[in-house]
Symmetry: C2
Subunit: 381 residues, 2 copies
């Protein structure tokens, strides 16, 4: 017997409650029963996004939600600002490029967090910018950008702030309305504890005014058409019914635990994970770490990819390696969504054994003890 453990930053383990609900016979999306379910889901999403506005739901993975945000906020000839500090920030630029949108990049070295002052300066220099596209939790580097500070600058201007919150929503506090963020994009396979295939997009009042004027081409990802249907508890096109059935379950779980407690739990587990890896003499990659995923520098002489492969093959543990130019240089451990303190212990134990087997000098149990100390000091809610 070898149990499998998933500590990747997406997909994350699916809650058994959702797996079981999704295994029930399928509902028809135009039947009253599904409409009642969708009404509950709409309210649950508003709570999770901390907004009074509707949260749109598309059958697509997170990138679809990002593309939807671009084509619904911009028109040909308009200018964007793109914050890039990793693969997902770069994706914003790639999408703009695909639609021939001129953008000003604000580049941050991998592992660094964007300086909100640079965004303010760029916006002051060029107030014609229609929208700023940023990542919140940059999954490829493990960095959490200071979206609150950026929002403080942008909300006073006519420019929109569009945030990829795919690995941050439900992980860290992100009060969309209170901070004044205009478009917030989430994905089902992260803190939502569901399989991939749904992207959810919150849209502010300020954004709607721009969306109505936007002239980039769109059909499947049309915010206005989706919004109109959602108000009737329907969708413009056939929705990913089973995932929405699962979403009802996980939104209930989040509501029962309390969003504040869910966020505290993620902080606690990530703090324990960081303490564990640093106690083993390893270095964190991110200057401002996100609780969604802990990015760790591979120790000198050991390839990060070998750590990932050994963890999977010998210990049944799936984590993620580095992407692009970070390949082999870092590895990434996540305790996101359906995760508790036992997961931190299992992940660190497997990591200790792996490092030891690869010849890295550690004392078994040292990482775990450091994590336990954090877990004990910060008791569960």
């Amino acid at each position: 017997m070898k149990k499998r453990h998933l500590f990747a930053p997406g997909p994350t383990p699916v809650a058994p409650e959702a797996l079981l609900a999704m295994a029930r016979p399928i509902l028809h999306h135009r039947a009253p029963e599904f409409e009642t379910l969708l009404a509950e889901v709409r309210e649950g999403l508003k709570g999770l996004f901390q907004t009074t506005e509707e949260v749109l739901i598309f059958a697509a993975s997170g990138t679809g939600g990002m593309e939807a945000a671009v084509v619904n906020t911009l028109s040909p000839g308009e200018k964007a600002l793109v914050i890039r500090g990793g693969k997902f920030g770069e994706r914003w630029g790639e999408i703009c490029q695909a639609y021939n949108i001129n953008f000003i990049p604000v580049d941050v070295p991998y592992g660094g967090a964007v300086n909100p002052g640079l965004v303010a300066a760029a916006l002051e220099k060029d107030p014609q910018i229609t929208a700023i596209f940023s990542t919140h939790s940059e999954t490829s580097t493990g960095v959490l950008h200071d979206i609150q500070a950026i929002a403080q600058v942008v909300r006073k201007t006519p420019t929109l702030l569009v945030v990829d919150a795919i690995t941050s929503l439900g992980v860290v506090d992100l009060p969309m309305d209170a901070w004044g963020i205009d478009v917030v994009i989430a994905g089902s396979q992260k803190a939502f504890m569901l399989p991939p295939g749904l992207t959810m997009v919150g849209v502010s009042q300020k954004a709607w005014a721009v969306v109505k004027q936007s002239r980039l081409p769109k059909y499947y990802f049309d915010f206005a058409a989706e919004h109109k249907n959602l108000l009737k508890n329907q969708s413009h096109f056939t929705p990913a019914i089973s995932l929405i059935v699962g979403l009802q379950e996980t939104l209930r779980m989040i509501r029962n635990e309390g969003l504040h407690n869910v966020i505290r739990r993620h902080e606690r587990l990530a703090a324990a994970m960081r303490a564990g890896v640093t106690a083993l003499g390893l270095e964190l990659f991110a200057e401002r770490p996100t609780p969604a995923v802990t990015a760790v520098k591979a120790p000198a002489g050991i390839d990060g990819g070998t750590i990932v492969k050994t963890l999977r093959a010998k210990h049944g543990v799936t984590i993620a390696g580095g992407q692009g130019s970070l390949k082999g240089k870092i590895f990434r451990l996540a305790t996101m969504g359906y995760a508790d303190s036992s997961d931190v212990v299992v992940a660190l134990s497997a990591l200790e054994l792996t490092l030891s087997e690869l010849g890295y000098p550690i004392k078994l149990g040292e990482g775990i003890r450091a994590a336990q100390e954090i877990l004990q000091r910060q008791p569960e809610s």
Copy 2:
């Protein structure tokens, strides 16, 4: 106790084999286990599409696949031809319009099948047409267009033939390579016996040459990027993992039954359904009926919507009503995907009881007997 029965033309009942497979703990899409699974799925899809080319998979519902086909085959300023004879044919026109593509409509009255001669004439008159967009099985009217005849015309020209086969693939014979169809679009919630959320797109060699030159904007739905990844048993973006896990199961079921037998089964059940409703004195709406869904005219004095509602509320049976201008005028019964002869009997029985309750003069059991006669005359494979 009231059992629920789903005879809508999508979503269709999900096979229990798929429900159970999808209820297993989720796999990581970059793990070797998933790559092995995807390799099998690629082969299964080629068999079902009857093509030697790769079949692309996107996390989206069928409309996403249709939009993908438009943006990957056309460039600004190019011309399309759109066959419209129902809601889904019209959708092709709406997508072209969204991308500012000039198109020649070939309009067919609702309930009618397109005359392939009209397509040939339009193409002869305007050989600059880059692509023809057609529906195969028009779900809104219950019509099956003669795609083979259209393909015979188009394959001799440089024009591409793009076919929405969302409710025809796996229901009627559609040998993509043998007929010379260039792009074939399918959806998971029909003959695939899965929940909605996956669209699968077969692309011919002839189409690839055009796709590589196409200049409409695209990012999430980029055929070339998806193809490149698929060859490595990966996907460009996070795939709808659980649905692909289910797809492995249902492709195995289809392979075990044999595609030829699957198609014969759909023909047989639809023939029995048509015999049943006509024996009740009802009229079919489609001049050339698709086996995917049987569209029936509501009898004089009875609203089609009332039939749909009564079936659901009193008999636990979900069917579909008419859409748009057909609302109230027709109702639609499907035995698609996970369906056998017992479903025809249950559907007809509920329909007979409903019609009787609504005051339509029938003799109970008459529709069922007519269906039984067909089922007996055409034994199962």
